[in-house]
Symmetry: C2
Subunit: 193 residues, 2 copies
DNA sequence: GGGTTTCTATCTACTTATAGGTAGGTAGGG
DNA sequence: CCCTACCTACCTATAAGTAGATAGAAACCC
C-alpha cells in the first residue's frame, strides 16, 4: 500500500485502534494486518509496543497544543470552550473515546515512560479550561459563585466520562447534558430553544 | 486456602482486578495464582472468562440495587446524592475505578451477554439520580433552571471520568470538584468553609 | 558512467511466554 | 459411592519480539 508515509499510517491506525478498543486489546498483528505488512515490519518502525504507544500519545499531545493555538483565535471564551467540547463530540461521532481517556483507563498496565505525556495532556487541558473560565469571569462573559478552578476541573472528567459511557448508552445525549450543565454553571444560556 | 466460599473469593478478586487493571489486562492465571489454585480449577467455578465477567457484573448490579435501597432511608435528597457520590469516593480510595466504567472502556472487546448488565447499571444509576434531583426540586430542597434530566445525566459521566482520571492525576481533587459543581448547580452550598 | 557499498523497508522463520480452555484423573467428605 | 473441588497434563491460538535474508533505491568513489 504505497501511502505517503508508512510510519504515519501506523501511528494513525494504532491511535484509532487504541481509541476504539483500548491499549491492551490492540496488537501488532491486527495493526500489521490492517496496513498489509507483517508484524516484524511493524517492529522495524517501532521497536516495541510501548514505544509505539508512547509515540502515539506524544503526537496526540502535540495535536492538542495545535488545537489550543487555533482556538486562541476565537472571539470569545464561550466560543473557545464550545470548540473544546466540540472536539470531544467529533471523537464521539467516530465511535471512539479520547486517546488519553483510553490510556488512563489502562494506566496500571502501562509502563512508566508513557505516564508523562498522559499527565501533560490532562494538565494542559485543565489549565487551558481554567484560563478560559477565569478570563470569562473577569470580562463578565461568565457568572458564577464557584471558584473557576472547581468549574474547570469538573469539565474534563465529565467529557471523558461522557465519551466512555456514550458507547454503551445514551448516544450523544450524555455529551449534550454535560455541555449544557457546564455552560449553565457559567451562566451561559443554551443557544438552542 | 479454606475461606468461606471459593466462588465468592474468585468473584471478589476478579472484580478487584478488573477495577484496578481492566478486563483485558486480567487473566485466569493471575486470578488463580492469587487464590492459590490452578487455572483449570477456576474453570471449574466459571466455565469461561466471559461467564466470570458476566457474573461479576451481575453481582455488581445487585450491589447497586442494595445501596439504593439503603440510601432510600436517608432523610434528604442531598444526603442521598452525597451518599451516591461517597460510594465513588470509596472506590477511588481503593485505587480503583467503577467496575462499570472499566467495562465500558473495554466495551468493544466484550461479548454481547455482558452488555445488558452494564447497560442496566448505567440506566438504573441515572434513573435514580434523576428521581433524587426531581424530588429535591419539587420539595424546594434544590433550585435550578435546567431540566432535572440534564443535571442528573451529567453527574454519572462526571463521576466515572473523575475516577478514571484521578489515578493518573489530581488525587481526590477531581471528585471534589465534580461534587461541588454538581451540588452548586442544584443551589446547594458546600458544607465545608 | 560503472561498480560498489550502504540504507530502507520489507520478508521468512523462529522463540518464548501467555491466554483461554479441555480431558481425564483423584482425594476426601456426606 | 458419588459429588465437590481440586489436580496434572495437554492443546491451540496469540502476543511480543528477534535473527537473518533480500530486493530495490540512493549515495559514494574513481
Amino acid at each position: 500500500m504505497p501511502t505517503v508515509d508508512r510510519r504515519t499510517d501506523l501511528l494513525d491506525l494504532a491511535q484509532g485502534m487504541i481509541q476504539e478498543r483500548g491499549y491492551n486489546a490492540f496488537s501488532f498483528k491486527d495493526l500489521a494486518a490492517r496496513v498489509g505488512i507483517k508484524t516484524a515490519s511493524v517492529h522495524y518502525h517501532f521497536p516495541s509496543k510501548g514505544e509505539l504507544g508512547l509515540q502515539v500519545m506524544k503526537r496526540y499531545l502535540d495535536q492538542l497544543e495545535e488545537c489550543l493555538r487555533t482556538w486562541a483565535e476565537l472571539p470569545s471564551e464561550t466560543a473557545r470552550l464550545r470548540a473544546f467540547v466540540g472536539s470531544y463530540r467529533d471523537t464521539e461521532n467516530q465511535g471512539a473515546i479520547c486517546l488519553c481517556g483510553s490510556m488512563a483507563s489502562d494506566i496500571q498496565t502501562l509502563n512508566a515512560p508513557i505516564h508523562s505525556p498522559i499527565n501533560r495532556y490532562l494538565e494542559r487541558s485543565e489549565q487551558w479550561v481554567v484560563q478560559c473560565v477565569q478570563a470569562g469571569l473577569e470580562s463578565g462573559e461568565f457568572l458564577s459563585t464557584l471558584p473557576p478552578e472547581t468549574l474547570a476541573m469538573s469539565l474534563l472528567p465529565s467529557l471523558q466520562g461522557a465519551l466512555i459511557l456514550s458507547r454503551v448508552q445514551g448516544g450523544g445525549t450524555l455529551l449534550t447534558a454535560v455541555e449544557q450543565s457546564f455552560f449553565a454553571s457559567l451562566g451561559v444560556l443554551d443557544e438552542r430553544p
